[in-house]
Subunit: 145 residues, 2 copies
DNA sequence: GAAGATACACCGAACTTCGTACTATTCAAG
DNA sequence: CTTGAATAGTACGAAGTTCGGTGTATCTTC
């Protein structure tokens, strides 16, 4: 009998890496000099960075939270000057969200920080392994059902 | 010049996988019939599962939150009947945390759910790739500085 | 042009986190 | 011993977060 399925212990390794990185992300942010953003707020910020002009409802669906919750998050981000609300002429009920210059800056810094963490995560791997790992990650992402 | 370092785009793949799984975890829990636990509460629960008899302060250090926050989380978990506090004779200031039978059950169900998610995550990979990926994850974990 | 659908925002209740202050116990000298 | 400092944890209250119900403005459709 050929061993085709991963054992539970092997699968657990994925969970551990995931946990490890959850804690590291959090720690890295706590260490930074700036007052750290809310978890949700960060996610909204990245969503807007990826989809400029999106509406609050889009990000609510994507992040799986109530619309009113996104409304609050948007308020906070606007108050901090990271994003702005615009009224599109096409549909004046809607709101279109955009990063401000400061918001773009914040996103850049966040991405740099994550990049650094990921780089360190890859430290114990050889160059060939790194390339393999990245390749598998891309397969996993693009397979997204 | 040999390409030894991953590019930013390659590194971003790690972040995307991470995000993808954050959302999936959340979604999977929201779908379950049971009232989902708080993020922190789940982490405390797993910590106690891994280190039975640990004190609240241990998990506070590990999870990087204030002691009082762990105290609240512990209250909630005790109230739901998932863990119990005991006074060790050795040091009667201390509290030792243990899973109840129901708590163990909850942990088992959570792990089963995560295992299933991880299994699906590995779907698009070949058997050889899976084994490689797991091996790299283990390297990353054991390298933990 | 009226009825219904859609996109949001406001409000208030319930919950979470955490700093301050407090209790109980142990440790360390003297 | 016993007294003073250190340690483990909890009670309480302030500030912040999430979300359901409700309200307003704007399309859409017939």
């Amino acid at each position: 009998m050929v061993m085709t399925m991963p054992t539970d212990e092997e699968l657990a390794a994925l969970g551990e890496v995931f946990d490890l990185f959850t804690r590291r992300y959090k720690l890295a942010e706590a260490l930074g000099p700036e007052k750290p953003l809310n978890e949700l707020d960060k996610q909204v910020l990245s969503y807007v960075a990826r989809y400029p002009g999106c509406g609050p409802t889009d990000s609510a669906r994507f992040l799986n939270v109530a619309n009113t919750t996104i409304s609050s998050a948007t308020d906070r981000l606007v108050k901090r000057g990271l994003i702005e609300r615009r009224r599109p002429e096409a549909d004046r009920r809607a709101v279109a969200l955009y990063l401000t210059a400061e918001g773009q800056d914040k996103v850049d810094r966040l991405l740099a920080m994550y990049g650094e963490l990921h780089r360190r995560m890859l430290d114990p791997l050889s160059v060939a392994e790194r390339r393999q790992l990245i390749g598998m990650m891309q397969k996993i992402i693009y397979h997204d059902p």
